[in-house]
Assembly symmetry: C2
DNA sequence: TATTGTTATACTCTATAACTATA
DNA sequence: TATAGTTATAGAGTATAACAATA
């Protein structure tokens, strides 16, 4: 029969409420870095799995998003924006080029630089991916109401874009 | 002369304020998952580099922290807590055992399970690591004031420990 | 038969160095 | 000489499958 799920010996298990409370009162549970890693690991897993059918992952989706915007960035600037090493951008751009989503053009103002720009196919796919990403975000943050999500967004923007006046 | 810094051809460059503002008004700049990845990538790099002298990283530090707490968790529960696959815990615990920071003991209540407990050396090292981690957190979040940091912490706790009543 | 821990493997992510072309 | 991009490589992080010990 086809419906048989694959056997997974090392399955993730849930912590019961009592154990959760015990850990929540431990010193580590107040460290923002720890909380952030844990909170967004699950979110990234979710968005990666859902973007898979569009041939994207969180990383390539972010790059595609910037390539769709009117801001023309060199690969160097993309590296800075995405908190990646410049060398990592190369492979990421190559991947999106292979899928026909973006093109790489020499920057006319400085022929050392390369501008990454989305194709019409890339733009179309981005719109679909964006809907998926927004829904995944909502699903990953069900324990926060709309106002709390806005606050979280504002605080994160303040960390990431300190110069932009929130 | 010894002071010569190593040459790095692919150095990270900063985006100027104008480019930051342009990107900050782009759709991707409102997606929490994107903001979170970017915000905490730098923080994790910082804490990893500072914990290096103690033989720790963000991951092993978190595991050590839980091992120091009175909550006795099996490796299975540790996997759930740290958002890792159970198989990844094995290597992480092995590493801390090699450094003499924790011991692995059979759970007397269920001999299939293993309890991970910090040694006195592990506890001592944890106290020093904790000071480093707290300072790194403060440095990584300079763009937030104390009240904003508390809010961020509260929201993250609500995502991570939904059952624990904030 | 089901679950915990373990080992093995592969793939993604991250970090660093060296090379090339343009400036 | 300095910078943007590229290539190569190694190590850390993540995901999955199979197996032994215990329940």
């Amino acid at each position: 029969m086809p419906g048989t799920p694959k056997p997974r010996a090392s399955e993730r298990t849930e912590l019961d409420a009592a154990t959760q409370r015990a850990i929540a009162s431990t010193p580590i549970a107040d460290e923002i870095e720890f909380l952030a890693i844990k909170a967004f690991a699950a979110g990234t897993r979710l968005i990666n799995s859902r973007l898979q059918e569009l041939g994207l992952r969180a990383r390539s989706y972010s790059l595609l998003a910037v390539s769709c915007s009117p801001v023309q960035l060199t690969q160097r600037e993309l590296a800075s924006l995405l908190e990646l090493d410049p060398s990592q951008i190369v492979a990421l751009v190559d991947e999106l080029i292979d899928q026909g989503m973006v093109v790489r053009e020499t920057d006319p103002r400085d022929r050392r630089g390369r501008i990454v720009r989305a194709t019409s196919h890339g733009r179309e796919l981005f719109e679909r991916a964006r809907a998926v990403a927004m829904q995944s975000e909502a699903d990953a943050l069900v324990t926060l109401n709309a106002s709390e999500r806005d606050t979280l967004r504002r605080l994160l923007r303040q960390i990431v874009f300190p110069a932009s006046g929130t």
